[in-house]
Amino acid sequence: MKDHFKVGRYSFKSRLIVGTGKYKNFSETAKAVKASGADMVTVAVRRVNVLDKNEPLLMDYINPKKIRYLPNTAGCFNSEDALRVLRLARESGGWNLVKLEVLGDKETLYPNMAETLKCTKILVKEKFDVMVYCSDDPIACKQLEDLGAVAVMPLGSFIGSGNGIPNKNNIKIIKQRSKIPVIVDAGIGCASDASVAMELGCDGVLVNTAIAKAKKPILMAEAMKLAVNAGRMSYLSGIMTRSEVASNSTTHKRKIK
């Protein structure tokens, strides 16, 4: 089934985006990314360790020429810091497609939507293609779309919580009202959560902790790949209407008497 995933002017084979944080080491990260089939991974921008000249680099394990790097603004709590990080990220390798996240506080890592909207406006003006981590708020998502975001990434639940998607109605209505891709970012805890996101009609899913913190991350990476595909195919196939009463699968005609 040919079903390319388009974000702005970019096209991807996989609808699963994988985060590269929290793994034991870069070797495990690379194996998990491979098993997941993802062709886009999120990455963070941090200082080079100038004291350890031989410290391994993510780029030595995941080739940015083969897998698209999606630089994020993890750990930024205001618009100014997020802009600084993304301008650096773009200069590093010409990456125009970025993931903006402006956080509200350390306990919930919930997005600060006022700062997020402000920052999106500036990034669009600076010709970035911005994918935006946001609350599961249909109004905020529409505002981001109107500002020129290339994708909205509403949270299923708190980052790293594994609590899945408790508010499916919001995700569904966000998707119904969006002209740009909707990607569930944050909260996915197991493969079925990813399927649910896709069955709600989402265009993609971003998963990090659920893979990295599974007991067998590489196996979970493959499970996520299959779950995203299954959920997508299930959605595309046109899911049956639910009924409150039973409906027999076998005809009553020609029953023996």
Binding site: Y23, V48, M59
Partner: protein, 66 residues
């Protein structure tokens, strides 16, 4: 002369360019981005860029993140 490199004091020759700095810390320019006093330095200026005393320099790369 000294600069603040990633928050730490770092001795450097006044004639050193960014290319020389990257050699000293053993990292390829393709793997980093650089900011001097909060302004991003474009890669094409790495050869010609000259530091001033006490410049605040950030050399960043990509790490794992979600």
């Amino acid at each position: 002369m000294q600069i603040q490199l990633n928050g730490k004091k770092f001795k450097i020759n006044s004639k050193d360019s960014i290319v020389n700095l990257l050699k000293k810390i053993n990292i390829k320019s393709s793997k980093v981005a650089i900011e001097v006093n909060k302004a991003v330095v474009p890669k094409e200026k790495y050869k010609s860029f000259k530091f001033k005393n006490n410049d605040k320099v950030e050399v960043v790369t990509f790490i794992g993140g979600g």
